[in-house]
């Protein structure tokens, strides 16, 4: 039993080491792409950034830089798409937020959000405060803190100290459980809920996945939609204001 656990831990460290080792090459490509951007060779920069993505690696900086390249090339749809991707991975970066806001200014569609009960907005703000990736840190740190406090409590001798420690343990535990719950929600959303951005300059949304069906409305480059369903070549989307319909999937870039 002890041996098995030891092998497991060993494997984990080996895997972690492998994943670190592989990224060395990507770093070079990333720096090269940055140089291209600085020389205003945006197409070249895009190509290199995409190369890293094609190799299966990502981080919010690549997406942010790609968004900048597309913004410079006046492709608002792609710019919004990549800024949104960056924002998804890193929700509190001021640069990402700023550039996304600027890119959104150049969008034609101004989707008005229906007013919502303020508590829902608060809940959303709390829930989306960290990205799922960041939540892993939050949850593990809180967990470690709770356990640490619990261990101290185990060895504490004085009654008063034990009482104080127990309140800390309970508080830390509640906070940890709360964020773990949010983490679970976010993972569920991450798996089920996907957003997309319209990449073509004008795209008609139909009432059914068929070009002959009625036009419901029209979306323009850069509009952010929620994906609901998929069918060969078509995607069912909905807007925050409640409108929904089918759109050709090649017109969308999934965030």
């Amino acid at each position: 039993m002890k041996k098995f656990l030891g092998i497991n831990i060993f494997l984990i460290f080996v895997l972690a080491g492998l994943s670190f080792g592989q990224t060395g090459h990507q770093k070079e490509v990333f720096l090269q792409a940055n140089q291209n951007y600085a020389k205003q060779n945006y197409e070249g920069a895009i190509e290199l950034y995409q190369k890293i993505l094609k190799q299966g690696y990502e981080n919010s900086d690549i997406y942010y830089n790609l968004g900048n390249c597309f913004y410079r090339l006046n492709q608002v749809g792609n710019a919004v798409l990549y800024f949104e991707k960056a924002h998804k991975l890193n929700p509190h970066d001021p640069d990402i937020e700023y550039n996304l806001e600027l890119a959104n200014l150049r969008i034609v569609d101004n989707i008005q959000l229906p007013p919502r009960f303020f508590l829902f907005n608060w809940w959303d703000a709390v829930k989306n405060y960290y990205s799922p990736g960041q939540l892993t840190y939050v949850v593990s740190v809180l967990f470690a803190v709770t356990i640490f406090l619990l261990i101290i409590w185990l060895y504490a001798k004085s009654y008063r100290l034990r009482r104080w420690l127990m309140t800390f343990v309970v508080t830390a535990g509640v906070i940890a459980v709360f964020w773990s719950y949010i983490f679970l929600i976010r993972i569920h959303e991450y798996k089920s809920h996907r957003d997309a951005v319209v990449l073509t300059s004008t795209e008609t949304v139909y009432s059914a996945p068929d070009e002959g069906s009625t036009d419901v409305f029209v979306l323009h480059e850069g509009a952010k939609v929620k994906l609901d369903d998929q069918r060969s070549g078509w995607m069912e989307i909905s807007l925050p204001d409640g409108k929904s319909g089918w759109i050709k999937s090649q017109a969308l870039g999934i965030i």
Binding site: L31, Y57, V108, T202, V218, H220
Partner: protein
């Protein structure tokens, strides 16, 4: 006395009345014939007389029930009799009844010295037949003598009006063409429309007619007539049911020849008034009833707007490719038999990115053919505001063709227009309007620079919990917690549970004794060595079984060992070892170093074995 007085007073009253009256104005109205035949004319005359030199004009009554053939003609006269001047003025109107019955001609009125004086009203009775004896008694009119002998029936044989509808049963909005023809065998000098046909609940289009209609001959029941088409109109009934088109009425002046009753007189025609008499005659076409069928429900398209006829459509777009803010013209022309008035706008759906202006509509109705044909052109000006491939969807405009009694549709094909991004002139205007203050502040700003620091790359699509470090960070604290828990429990037992503490410490104590023994071994003190080993062995068993070590004898140890289920071999090994130690302790002379070393190793082994059982 009283009578005389009374008579005198009346006389005075009369004189004053007459005096006053003679200065006043008198107005009377009368007709020259009463009763009047339905197709006869008569004269209505209003006479105003008074002492004044300037007689006021008369307000003539309303002759709603009669057709006015002439007048008003005014004649006036002055008379001076016994230095009394009197003037009279007469207004005469030539009228003709429209219907039979008794009609009231209201009072004529004059305003004289601020007073309104009204004449009497006249009741006119209109009979089917001509006025009979009363005619002769009245002052002769222009025509009275002519119609005296000519009976009404005779006249209708030589002169009548007919209407021929193209159909008696039509669908809603289908055309019925009405031709009004006048049949005559006499000379018509003049004709005048007194009443136009009315078709309530229908759209009427008039065909143009020559002012001098072509006259041709037609045989009606064996009699040859001259025929002139004097009116042609198209009626489009707008609702199903029965509609009645009221008759056309004409007043015709015709020349009739007076005839004697004996027609065998050879000279009759010659001698009797060779120029004939001019007679005014009212003729009516008679009403037309038309049955209007509702449009069939079977196969009726949902978006049917009521278009009936036979149409063609032509549509065009002036360019297939354009730039944003560059106008496109979209034209649709519909033409064919039937009315297009109903079609107010086309059900075209333009893409929302097009700014669409109200269409310019040109509509014309062509009446030169056998049926009414219409032409309607819609021209839309479209301004694309966003780039991309814009589609103006195909449109179907349904119509009903009464010929084959089916619904058809006019099809406008789909137009695809490629809109390229033009110069962004309108962009600022279009999008600037809805911007908030914050957004306006950002408008002129540029994006921030890229991130140049290399951050860690993660596999794409890796779910957060799939990260190894995350799993480690969750498992590791739990392991630490478990260990800490176990150790704390151990410490607690050590301090509170003597048996546990002694048992846990037994090995340590035994080790200590053996260590002690080893030092004795090195110092070659055999008695001390064996004593230490013996104490270690006994102490170990005592610690493990929680017995006081001090008074423990050999047999007690044996009993304890037997109690704790140790196999017999180990027990006897232990006991021999203990016995040997006791024996050597008290007879130390004969032991060698090697014996002591052997014994030390043996007892160490036994203690290790024992530790597994106790």
């Amino acid at each position: 006395m009283i009578n005389r007085q009374f008579g005198f007073s009346i006389l005075i009253l009369l004189v004053t009345f007459v005096l006053g009256f003679s200065q006043d104005i008198k107005i009377t109205a009368h007709v020259d014939k009463n009763p009047v035949g339905a197709d006869e004319q008569f004269t209505y005359e209003v006479e105003v007389s008074g002492a004044s030199q300037s007689l006021p004009d008369v307000d003539l009554p309303d002759f709603a029930d009669f057709a006015i053939l002439g007048g008003p003609s005014v004649s006036s006269s002055y008379q001076i009799v016994n230095f009394n001047m009197s003037a009279s003025k007469s207004y005469s109107m030539v009228l003709m009844p429209r219907q039979t019955g008794t009609f009231k001609i209201g009072p004529a009125a004059i305003t004289y010295k601020g007073k309104t004086i009204k004449s009497n009203t006249v009741d006119v009775t209109v009979t089917k037949q001509s006025g009979g004896s009363s005619q002769r008694r009245q002052a002769p009119g222009r025509s009275s003598r002519g119609s005296q002998n000519e009976s009404d029936a005779d006249l209708s044989k030589v002169l009548f009006l007919d209407v021929i509808p193209s159909k008696r049963t039509v669908y809603v909005n289908q055309e019925v063409t009405l031709r009004y023809k006048i049949y005559f065998r006499t000379q018509i000098t003049n004709n005048e429309v007194s009443k136009l046909p009315e078709a309530v609940g229908s759209w009427v289009e008039e065909y143009p007619i020559d002012s001098r209609p072509k006259i041709y001959t037609e045989n009606v029941k064996g009699v040859q007539y001259n025929v002139a088409e004097i009116k042609k109109m198209a009626v489009f009934p707008s609702r199903p049911g029965k509609i009645t088109i009221s008759p056309l009425e004409l007043i015709v002046e015709t020349v009739v020849r007076r005839r004697r009753r004996s027609t065998n007189d050879l000279f009759d025609n010659f001698f009797s008034d060779p120029f004939g008499q001019v007679v005014k005659k009212r003729i009516s076409s008679g009403p037309v009833e038309i049955k209007v069928l509702p449009l069939p429900e079977a196969g009726k398209p949902d978006n049917f707007s009521g278009l009936v006829g036979d149409f063609k459509i032509h549509s065009s777009v002036d360019k297939q490719a354009t730039e944003t803010n560059d106008a496109i013209s979209y034209k649709v022309n519909i033409s064919g038999r039937g009315l297009l008035q109903i079609l107010n706008n086309l059900p075209v759906e333009f893409p929302p990115d097009f700014e669409v202006y109200d269409p310019k509509v040109n509509q014309s109705v062509n009446k030169s053919g056998a049926a009414i044909t219409s032409n309607k052109e819609f021209e839309y000006v479209l301004i694309p505001r966003a780039a991309g491939e814009q589609r103006i969807k195909a449109v179907e405009i349904p119509y009903f063709n009464p010929q084959d009694r089916r619904y058809h549709s006019l099809k406008i094909p789909e137009y695809k227009i490629r809109v390229a991004q033009g110069k962004e002139v309108a962009m600022g205007v279009g999008s600037g309007a809805g911007l908030s203050k914050e957004e306006v502040r950002l408008l002129g700003k540029d994006i921030r620079f890229i991130k140049e620091d290399v951050a860690e790359f993660r596999p794409i699509g890796e779910l957060p919990y799939e990260n190894v470090w995350f799993i480690v960070s969750l498992v590791l604290p739990l392991l630490v917690l478990g260990a800490a828990w176990g150790y704390r429990n151990h410490l607690e037992k050590m301090s509170s549970n003597v048996q546990y503490a002694r048992s846990r410490k037994a090995g340590k104590h035994a080790q200590m004794r053996l260590k002690e023994a080893k030092t004795f071994l090195n110092q070659k003190k055999a008695a001390e060595f064996y004593s230490a080993v013996s104490r270690g062995l006994i102490g170990y068993v005592a610690d493990k079984t929680n017995q006081p070590a001090a008074g423990l004898l050999r047999d007690d140890v044996k009993g304890l060992l037997l109690k704790s289920n140790i196999n017999g071999e180990l027990e006897s090994e232990f006991m021999t070892c203990l016995d040997e130690a006791d024996f050597r302790r008290f007879a130390p002379g004969e032991v060698t170093d090697a014996d002591m070393k052997n014994f030390y190793q043996k007892s160490e082994k036994i203690l290790m074995k024992l530790g597994k059982f106790l």
